[in-house]
Amino acid sequence: MIIGLDVGGTHTDVVLLGDNGLEKEIKVLTDPSNLFNSVLSGLNEITSGIDPKNISRIVLSTTLTTNAIVQKKIPAVGMIVSSGPGIDPGFYRTNSHYFPVSGSIDHRGREIEPIDHDEINHIAEHLQKEGIRYVGVVGKFSIRNPAHELQILAILNGSFEKIFMGHRISGSLNFCRRIATTFLNAAVYPIHKEFYEAVQRSLQAKGLVLPIRLLKADGGNMRFESSIEFPAQTILSGPSASVMGAVAFGAEDEDTLVMDIGGTTTDMALLINRAPVLNPLGIRVGGYNTLIRSLETLSIGLGGDSAVKLIEGKIEVGPERLGPAMAYGGQVPTPTDALFITGDMKDGDKEKSKNGLNPLAKILGISVEAFAHQIIEVTCKNILSAAQNLIDRINSKPVYTVHELQEGYLVRPKHVLVLGGPAPYFARHLEKLCAYSIRVVPNWQVANAIGAALARTTCEVIFFADTERRVAEAPEENFSQQIDSNYDRTWAQQHAFELLRNKAVDRGANPDFLEMEVVEALQFNMVRGFNTTGKNIRVKVQVKPGLIHGYDQVIAKLSQ
């Protein structure tokens, strides 16, 4: 049996999946000041009366690292950044102990300027004096040649508790994001490590000795042990839990929109043939653009509890939430109140909703019922127009070849899957306003936890080869190999797949069912003068986000 747990802002949802489908589901209130208790009480309740031996997998999605960053509850970090020509690295400052240093590598991975050992030693002394224990080391173009980051590491080693190097964080180009991502990893490292070690100890005390897995923002998971080197990948896993909970119900060979309608926000994503669309670079969190792989999502400040106002005679819904719906004792009318008046929702105080909407309906000179319908219509239309923005954003992603521009896939979803608190009540109204077929995700109240439980282990490998320089490298994987001039894209793809397989298995993937795919494979002839001097090869491969193998029957039972 599998446990999936998703910590949300209000509730922590936990599910137990087994041969009968959804064997057990639990909601506990999230205590933001004590996440550990929230997680533990959720796990305690779901496992009570279950033999620990029957549990084969536990996947957690928490707000631990996200909250730490957004609330800036992070320890002091030292950042050492070597740049070279280009934009002044001072502009990329992430924190106060941030030191641009000499040393430069170019786009081919050639050394332009060496690092200055004395300079690094001085900074190391300073950081130690300041009591700093976590350090990030980042070089421009370090993913083409990590030598400078490694040299700096060698100088620092032994003086700090943990050092993160930019080239191990991501294989993508983007110095600014590499700096921010390395910083975030260093910043969340201690709380992440402490928290999950504690969770693991508690589970062991209950006889649950299996590696816990953590959900990532890209809709995949990894083992806790692997996450120690990349703790920031657990940031913003919440939206991906919901999307993965919808994946199984997406249309085959067609595009499907996923809408997670909550109290405060609505989060949207897109599935192509049951695989979520990924963001090309990485997620944005706490004001930082990062290289943390994530789903392409769009979030709007509009949900069941959004405040309803009249502005110059026009109905506006959101973006702020000013407490719960009036039906539940709130002070401000909301779309949820409108759903009470239309009779969609029933388990609250309809009279309170009516009293709340009445004054505004009077201003408009219409009945409270008509006003309720208008509120729902405005809400649905705003959600649908945001969905169109997401589709446009995905379709307007620039491409760099004639072939892609002409033949590139354009998403055209026909179906929408809705989940989240008020989802089923909105579904009927959404359907009237659009051409999509709307379906409520089965078990929509806990689909997020189901998504966390069933998500597979994902990762990517970015690989490049330069036959003029005679190197094939994937610095993120600590891989570097001498190659000869015959080396080509086919070889590169094969090597990249080998690295990907090892990485995925190491992080917890099932080696028998690895769904690997090529994301990009480019080969350029390098010509100097009028002679071809080599080939420049760039390959990117990934394990496609999706659901784990062997649970088709469980999923089939979920839809019943």
Binding site: P85, G86, I87, L173, C176, V402, F524, N525, V527
Partner: protein, 438 residues
């Protein structure tokens, strides 16, 4: 947090699957290292800098500018539609006020493509700036346009297209035509009789460095632009004046290009040539974008940059000052020069031979312009190529007077189909394009 002072938009289209031939300078690899640099710098993450996906241009967009022989499909590839579309997309974003400034970092280039196109010249098939400008004129009603061509090669295609247009000021600075392709671009090439002084050529001696380019921009180009008062300024931003460029002989730099961009302050820049794909383009492109956006570019330097090593000699400086004076004089005395030209016998006719180096075609042209004080004048081009195609092309300008429009149609309708393979008319007053074939 880095923030652009001026909202700047880019179309980046490196056409990674398109080349003239595998080892040609205009090949797949050309913008590869530029991509590496701008991705690594995180250019598109900067607040106020955005990237646009290009919409290819339409057939009509091309026919608004060119006479393609025998038709558009024979002289273009999809990549040309996209690269011109990149310029158009950029221009639209600027005029829609989505952005203040735009840069179409696209390939293949276009500034050697003339009004009549029998094939490719100087790596160019269709003129991507002209296609953009004429679309913008049609769609947004802009009138006065200035084009500053800072490619190392004379922008002879753009010059040809705007030779008779008094509303378009074309200024080209380039390496002296006696030392470089296409061999033209001298100060005495100053526009047709209806547009005297609206074409200005500033040939610079080989080994011109930062000092010379920036002097010319400040003391020659800027005063003329201020005087002309264009609605928009376009920069044909070739990057082959760089000291590492393999096919030219200049000594310009990334710092220099960024400064030049700051001075000229174009609304829209369009990439033209530049073939030092590792040593120059990554840094020059970055410098131009930062300059457009109004972001500090003081650290954008080539790894081997040494301003002392590339500094120009006093002799070069003197020659540049002289050429600058000549061009300023032409601009100031353009009315007087026009009167002199119009008094010459047969000022409306010219015969030319045009060589298409990329495709190895020889074209001979007889051109007749209606000298007119009310409009840009109807234009009649009788052109024969060494491939044996003989065409007649009639251009009726955008704001043609009735007389010139009538003349244009008389030329078109009275031409004997037995004499020509194709007879074209480009009627810009109606934005229509007609042709008759044998």
């Amino acid at each position: 947090m880095l923030q652009a002072k001026h909202k700047t938009g880019l179309v980046f289209f490196p056409a990674f699957d398109w080349a003239i031939s595998p080892t040609h300078p205009e090949r797949e690899e050309r913008l590869l290292y530029t991509q590496d640099q701008i991705f690594e710098e995180g250019l598109f993450d900067i607040e106020g800098i955005s990237e646009f996906k290009p919409d290819p241009v339409t057939l009509k967009d091309i026919q608004r500018v060119h006479f393609c022989v025998p038709d558009v499909w024979h002289v273009t590839t999809e990549s040309h539609f996209i690269s011109a579309g990149g310029a158009k997309t950029t221009g639209m974003a600027v005029l829609d006020r989505q952005i203040e400034r735009g840069f179409a970092m696209v390939r293949p280039p276009g500034h050697h493509a003339m009004r009549v196109v029998h094939g490719a010249r100087g790596f160019c098939n269709i003129n991507i700036e002209a296609i953009m400008i004429e679309y913008l004129r049609e769609a947004y009603g802009i009138e006065k346009v200035a084009i500053v061509d800072t490619d190392c090669h004379h922008g002879d295609g753009t010059q040809d297209i705007y030779w008779h247009d008094p509303d378009t000021l074309f200024i080209s600075i380039h390496q002296d035509g006696r030392t470089l392709y296409p061999g033209s671009g001298f100060p005495n090439e100053l526009g047709g009789p209806n547009a005297v002084g609206k074409t200005l050529n500033i040939p610079l001696p080989p080994n011109t460095s930062e000092e010379g380019f920036l002097y010319t921009a400040e003391h020659v180009i800027m005063p003329i632009l201020e005087d002309f008062k264009p609605d928009i300024i376009i920069n044909s931003a070739g990057q082959d004046n760089h000291y590492t460029d393999p096919i030219t002989n200049m000594n310009f730099s990334a710092q220099g290009y960024a400064n030049l961009t700051s001075i000229i302050n174009p609304d829209i820049a369009v990439l033209e040539g530049g073939y030092s794909i590792e040593g120059a383009l990554p840094y020059v492109n970055l410098g131009i974008v930062l300059a457009l956006a109004g972001i500090d570019y003081s650290q954008v330097k080539e790894p081997d940059y040494d301003p002392n090593r590339i500094r120009q000699t006093p002799a070069v400086s003197n020659a540049i000052e002289k050429i600058g004076e000549t061009v300023l004089t032409i601009w100031q005395q353009r009315e007087y020069i026009r009167n002199q030209i119009v008094e010459k016998t047969d000022p409306g006719n010219r015969n030319r031979n045009i060589y298409y180096d990329t495709d190895g075609i020889q074209e001979s042209q007889h051109e007749q312009i209606q000298i007119c004080s009310d409009c840009a004048g109807a234009l009649r081009i009788d052109s024969t190529s060494s491939r044996g195609v003989h065409i007649l092309a009639v251009h009726i300008p955008r704001k043609a007077c009735n007389a010139c429009k009538q003349t244009g149609y008389i030329w078109y309708e009275s031409a004997d189909p037995d004499d020509f393979d194709i007879i074209f008319v480009q009627d810009r007053t109606e934005d229509q394009y007609l042709e008759r074939k044998k």
